[in-house]
Amino acid sequence: MKAVRVGRVGLNAGAAVFCLVWLFPVYWMVNSAFKPSGDLTTETPRFLPFPLTLASFGDAIERPGFISGLYNSLIVTGGVVLLSIGLAFLAAVALARFSFPGRRGFLIGMLVVQMIPGPAMLIPMFLSLKSLNLLNTLIGLTVTQVAGVLPLSIWILRGFVQGIPVELEEAAMVDGATRGQVMRRILLPLTLPGLIATSVFAFIAAWNDYIYAYVTMKDQSKYTLPVWLASFSTAQGNDYGGLIAGSVLFAVPVVVFFMVIQRRLVEGMTAGAVKG
């Protein structure tokens, strides 16, 4: 009995150490963001952010480039989400509801594409955008990001469409509904949770992109938030308060959305590639 109790204690201690290590960076991030900036550079680090202040947030927001970065990020992310989800929904219906030659190949292709290193695609993308005069434009960036987001969106949405009983559509078609009506009136509303989950996935992927925006956007007025944040640290190494507060602002929407779809994201990533 004693061995069991020792095991319990050890187990809980191990879990506690793990939580401590894994939560510490995030705790330190929040702590640093809310501290007065003078407290960031003390001989002994201050472990509690008192007196609380929002000065670092103000500092981040007032820096040149925050508003335009936010605007650019929202436009690009919005464009990527709308484009990917629209295209992915149509493709998902085709892949989930019809059988046709090339269907399997297409699905496997969607998975294999995930393996290509992002930085590898960057070289041809950059050169193509350059020759199309689309460097430094939001449209060019949006299009390149669709490449990263669309394949997995199709894959995830297809799963959601498959989850809807096909009998509903069959019944509607017996009643004389056309294919288009079935898609609009039945599939679309029923797939809504899936569309939301996939949109959130697309949002997170596009919102977090750094490398494409870093390479294609040359003017500071065209930076997205990640590029703005990263440029911030290299330009002025000392303003860690603003940098960390800016990172918190940048991270908040992602963390919130992530909590919402986390369960489904795991399903989407593991499905298909796994055959239990």
């Binding site: 493709a91 085709a94 070289i123 041809p124 096909v166 298909g272 796994v274």
Partner: protein, 327 residues
Amino acid sequence: MSHTTLKPAAAPTGAAASGEGPRSASGARRGRQPRAIPYTLLAPAAVVLAVVVGYPLVRLVLISFHDYGLRSLFTGVSPWAGFANYTAVFHSADLVPMLVRTALFCLALAAATLVIGMSCALMMKSLGKRMRSLMVFSLITAWAMPNIAATLLWTWLFQPTYGVVNWLLTQTHLFGDLRQHDWTASAVSGLFMVWLLVVWQSVPFVAVTLYAGVSQVPAEYYEAAELDGAGYFRRFRVVTVPFLRPVLLLVAMMSVIWDFNVFNQIWLLTAGGPHGGTSTLVVWAFTKAFASQSYGQGAAIAVLSTALLTVMMWYYVRRMVHAGEGL
């Protein structure tokens, strides 16, 4: 149990499930539709993918056979170079160190991620409810943290003068006074810092996925093994590992792919330095193309690394194709 795991109402992953899932609305069943409809629906996505994925891939290979430098960037003309870019890469003194570093770094990342992730999954299985929730919370928080935010946070944690890590290490009195230690000054400590970051970021996915698998192992298996006198480690070896094999393989393969392709973290923390000492193949391709303006050689490195990854992942690709038969 191939695609059914995607259903919104399904269990967390179902990845290790036993394959009893009904193939309810399997796509292949409706074969009597007019032929053009699926192609019409698929066409917009297919066209966009051809333009943003297919074309760049082809172009990447083409560029790797051209002398594409700064001048070509402005004139748009690039002379055919045959295998010159590839020969240059193969004759480069950097090649062997890059390959070794990439392989070791990737291996160190994947191994640590899997060991820690597996330990987390096993701990979560035996923990009480409250402690388990705390672990899930820790994992999800780290997982949700955007890559860039986490990387910039790392620069602050490891900042030489005021960084909390140096301070904490100094307090342990194990390594002497580290308060002024610059982690990016040497390749080993630079890579170690990146390694910590990437492990911190990748453990959550592995732990949550493996936990979903572990929690599906029927309790009877453990009871039977226990009756036969198997201890904890033996039960792990003869029950958990075989049961989890498909998920373990998937998670291992995905880890290798992700770790091989790590870019932002290296680029922002060390920029591949000092003297290229923390550069991996992916970073090398990037710097060749965008810093040395030698797009042809950068493309050649990118092609080679993609080929290398594909060979390494051949088993995984075959598995996907195999799984594709059930789609």
